[in-house]
């Protein structure tokens, strides 16, 4: 039988990464829709890594719940992952490391011997990719093309590596053919009639920001946000642009204060611990009205937490990261397209309302590669800051609304002040001034209500509302539920604060809003309840994303409980 959707899981150590890349790239070249997932231990080389490549003839939303094929490089990988194989799924295992009783659904390959045979002990990954290609009916040529591009690095050893990898592919395919085991192969690709790009979230975040005119970036390394720093360092080059590694996150955030004040469009990216360190500086940006974007790529928390696992537990902190009355705009992209357009929007929002904006990403997005329709950058309308051009003696903070911002070198010199201040920015703690300032700072948020949302089955009285990276598996769960005939709606937006115009009204009109999210406290449903929405969470805090099927079951249970009056949201 031919499948239209095929999931391969690799479980091993560092070598699985290239195997994943090779397979994904070959599949994409062949016209399939590809979606990868990876999860690492906090370690440099080695340690148990597992990855997944989903290959489909149609676009998919999630990484796939259960693999059709498991490639286990070691016993630990097999033991941990074979329970996840879908019934009838096949295992390819490294027979050099361990053995399995033959059951017609597994076959061993001594990948190390074969790699040695081609004279490249590191080619174990290509052996397995050869075997997989054979099993699921892929042409080896596409893998060879990937191999050629990847290893043409202008080094003497290039040719030998490319050749040996190609040979390893053939040996792997051979071994699979010999095994006698065969699994469903994948249906022919239906290549899209539009241009595609193969991208990761860091590419999209960087590009979106640049397309919106970003010209200043600093960052301190931290997993998984480092990728964005690295991307920026080599991409955002040229005159009047500045990209730099700082000595700490406290330096980063305060540097952005200075550069944003100086008229640049500024951004940094960090993860949980760095975000916590930026707390005081974010409060300053809010108070002094400095445009900036802070990307927070969530990992598992709290504290040093789980640096290489995914979680959605920084939401509370992003919404109000600092003491005092502050409430940050938060955009949480749910897929790679949204990383691009969300990032651009974050830059636009920051400039538009003259204050800090949080772009809330997460590990699961950060480790995903996908081939998507080439985004149309011309859809990004660049917004420029309202700059003051009048005479000196300007009352920067006199209005209760947004006002033009003077830029050093230009007219209207004022003091950007973290202490409560009068219309010139000078420190004053009179009651009337504090009331005025507070209204001004919160009032400006209303400029940001132009977010969009998507809604399906809007008539349903119960709706589900995932956020961020949970969008993908939740969308699959939604399709399952609708197929099962459950009357449930779908509401999704990446604009968590402020919500798009009209969104709150819709949400409040529901009898129940079910929020699947990857944290313990059910942070988004709690924030919705703050806003008087009858919301309840379905939570998971394992460091891994939801499985669509299980999620669908849990949602259905909650819907039933609600119908029986057991949930009094």
């Amino acid at each position: 039988m031919e499948k239209r959707d095929f999931v391969v899981r690799f479980a091993g150590e560092a070598n699985v990464v290239t195997a994943t890349e090779a397979l994904a790239s070959a599949a994409a070249s062949a016209g399939y829709y590809v979606y990868t997932f990876a999860t690492f231990p906090s370690q440099i080389l080695g340690g148990p890594i597992w990855t997944q490549v989903r290959i489909s003839t149609v676009p998919v939303f999630g990484q796939g719940d259960y693999p059709d094929l498991l490639v286990a490089f070691n016993k630990y990988g097999y033991d941990t992952h074979h329970v996840e194989l879908r019934p009838g799924g096949v295992t390819i295992y490294n027979s050099k490391e361990f053995d399995l009783p033959e059951d017609g659904l597994n076959f061993g390959i001594d990948v190390e011997a074969l790699a040695k045979e081609v004279g490249n002990p590191r080619a174990t990954n290509f052996v397995t990719v050869g075997a997989i290609s054979q099993e699921i009916g892929f042409s080896l040529d596409d893998v060879k093309a990937f191999n050629k591009t990847k290893y043409s690095r202008g080094r003497d050893s290039d040719a030998q590596i490319i050749e040996s990898n190609n040979a390893a592919l053939e040996l792997g395919a051979h071994a699979a053919r010999d095994s006698g085991i065969s699994i469903e192969s994948i249906a022919a690709a239906i290549p899209p009639d539009y241009e595609q790009v193969m991208v990761e979230s860091s590419d999209m975040i960087g590009l979106g920001a640049m397309a919106a005119g970003l010209d200043y970036y600093v960052g301190y390394p931290i997993s998984p946000a480092t990728k964005i720093l690295i991307w920026m360092e080599s991409r955002m080059v040229g005159e009047n642009r500045f990209v730099h590694q700082t000595s700490s996150e406290i330096e980063s955030i305060n540097t952005l204060i200075g550069a944003g004040f100086a008229g640049k469009k500024v951004m940094t990216a960090t993860s949980g611990p760095g975000l916590s360190l930026m707390s005081e500086g974010l409060g300053l940006a809010w108070m002094a009205e400095i445009p900036m974007v802070v990307v927070n790529v969530q990992r598992g928390g709290p504290a040093t937490g789980l640096p290489t696992k995914t979680e959605q537990s920084d939401l509370f902190t992003c919404i109000h990261p600092a003491h005092g009355d502050v409430r940050m705009p938060v955009i949480a992209p749910g897929d790679l397209e949204e990383c691009l357009f969300g990032s651009a929007k974050a830059v636009n929002w920051a400039e538009r309302y003259q204050g800090p904006v949080i772009l809330l990403s997460e590990m699961v997005l950060s480790e995903r590669t996908q081939n998507i329709k080439k985004p149309d950058l011309s859809k990004i309308v660049v917004e420029e800051r309202k700059v003051y051009t009048g005479d000196n003696g300007y009352h920067r903070y006199a209005s209760e609304e947004l006002s033009a911002m003077p830029i050093p070198g230009g007219p209207g010199a004022y003091v950007a002040n973290g202490s409560e201040h009068d219309e010139f920015g000078d420190t004053t703690h009179l009651a009337s001034v504090h009331v005025h300032g507070t209204h001004r700072r919160f009032g400006k948020l209303s400029l940001l209500n132009d977010g969009t949302y998507e809604e399906f089955n809007p008539e349903a009285s119960i709706t589900m509302m995932p956020w961020g990276g949970t969008k993908g598996p939740a969308r699959e769960a939604f399709e399952i539920l609708r197929e099962r005939g459950v009357d449930i709606g779908w509401f999704y937006t990446m604009f968590l604060h402020p919500l798009p115009d009209g969104a709150l009204g819709i949400l409040k009109s529901k009898d129940l809003v079910i929020v699947p999210e990857l944290n313990y406290q059910g942070q988004w449903s709690a924030l919705l309840r703050m806003d008087r929405v009858k919301a309840e969470s379905i939570t998971q805090y394992t460091g891994l994303p939801f499985k669509a099927g299980l999620l669908a079951d849990r949602i259905e249970t909650m819907v039933l409980q609600h119908q029986e009056g057991k949930i009094l949201a």
Partner: protein, 289 residues
């Protein structure tokens, strides 16, 4: 300075050393603007939190520079942002010994290593003024303050030798009672291409009045705590700088000066090796499959 709530504005205590520093900065800014044909709006003052930092609100000139009065201890990273974001601005930091050398001390090394082209005017009164008299890093060992009722336990930091060691490329020292001299020093510091610090003894008349120690008092047999640079002093000579700092008294003048490329220079020259500016469209195209 705001005119509207003048009754309510921050004011320094009578006799506070910061008055003199303010005058000096006003002179220096005036001088620099004249010399470079720049305007007040081409200058940005980044202020720390402390009595000292309030200087940014108390300038009396008609035309005002830009200012940032942020949070405690972060003048340097803020100045890094201003200067790298607006290379044509003249950036001056005003901060106290607590702000700059205690909570803010981590930021000095990185800026020295970058040779960030800004001028820091530090008002050292050996005390936390604004929080009413606690010990600071420059408070001497054993001193009784409100927070050290039995005497301070830490040895005092010597800011000048610290600046020298950590790689600050221009170091000057003075005190607040000679605004004209101080102004000249600050102007020289602003001319320096790179990270310059003018460390000023600026007595706190309310919590740590050191005027007498600085100026001396013949009648009481107190020798002046200040010292002029010796004839022929060469600020480019590190050894002489170390010697004058080791003297222990407050030297008046440019202690050390070294010419090195600034952050902005280096940035332009190193990233010059980068490929020609890529447009977002071109970058996107590189991801095609």
């Amino acid at each position: 300075m705001t005119t509207k709530n003048s009754n309510y504005d921050f004011k320094w205590c009578p006799g506070c050393g910061d008055f003199g520093v303010r005058r000096a900065i006003e002179f220096a800014l005036g001088g620099r603007n004249e010399k470079h044909e720049t305007r007040m709006q081409d200058n940005v003052i980044v202020a720390g939190i402390g009595c000292s930092g309030n200087l940014v609100h108390l300038l009396e000139s008609d035309e005002q520079p830009f200012g940032i009065h942020g949070i405690h201890g972060r003048t340097l990273p803020i100045a890094l942002g201003v200067k790298s974001g607006s290379p044509n601005s003249n950036v001056i930091i005003v901060a106290g010994d607590g702000d700059f050398l205690s909570i803010g001390m981590e930021h000095i090394g990185p800026q020295a290593q970058r040779n960030l082209d800004v001028t820091a005017v530090i008002m050292d009164n050996g005390v936390y003024g604004l929080t009413k008299g606690q010990g600071s890093p420059t408070t001497k060992f054993g001193t009784v303050t409100s927070s050290t009722p039995f005497g301070k336990i830490e040895a005092a930091l010597n800011p000048l030798s610290f600046y020298l060691e950590i790689g600050v490329s221009f170091i000057a020292s003075h005190y607040s009672s000679k605004p004209r001299e101080l102004a000249a020093l600050i102007e020289t510091a602003m001319e320096h291409k790179g990270f310059s610090i003018v460390h000023v003894q600026s007595p706190c008349t309310t919590y740590n009045d050191t005027y007498e120690q600085l100026k001396g008092n013949k009648r009481k047999g107190i020798d002046p705590g200040i010292i002029d640079l010796p004839e022929g002093y060469d600020p480019s000579d590190r050894a002489q700088a170390m010697a004058i700092i080791a003297d222990g008294r407050v030297p008046l003048g440019v202690i050390y000066k070294e010419d090195r490329p600034t952050l902005n220079d280096q940035y332009v020259s190193l990233t010059g090796r980068a490929p020609a500016t890529s447009s977002p469209d071109k970058i996107l195209a590189s991801y095609a499959i």
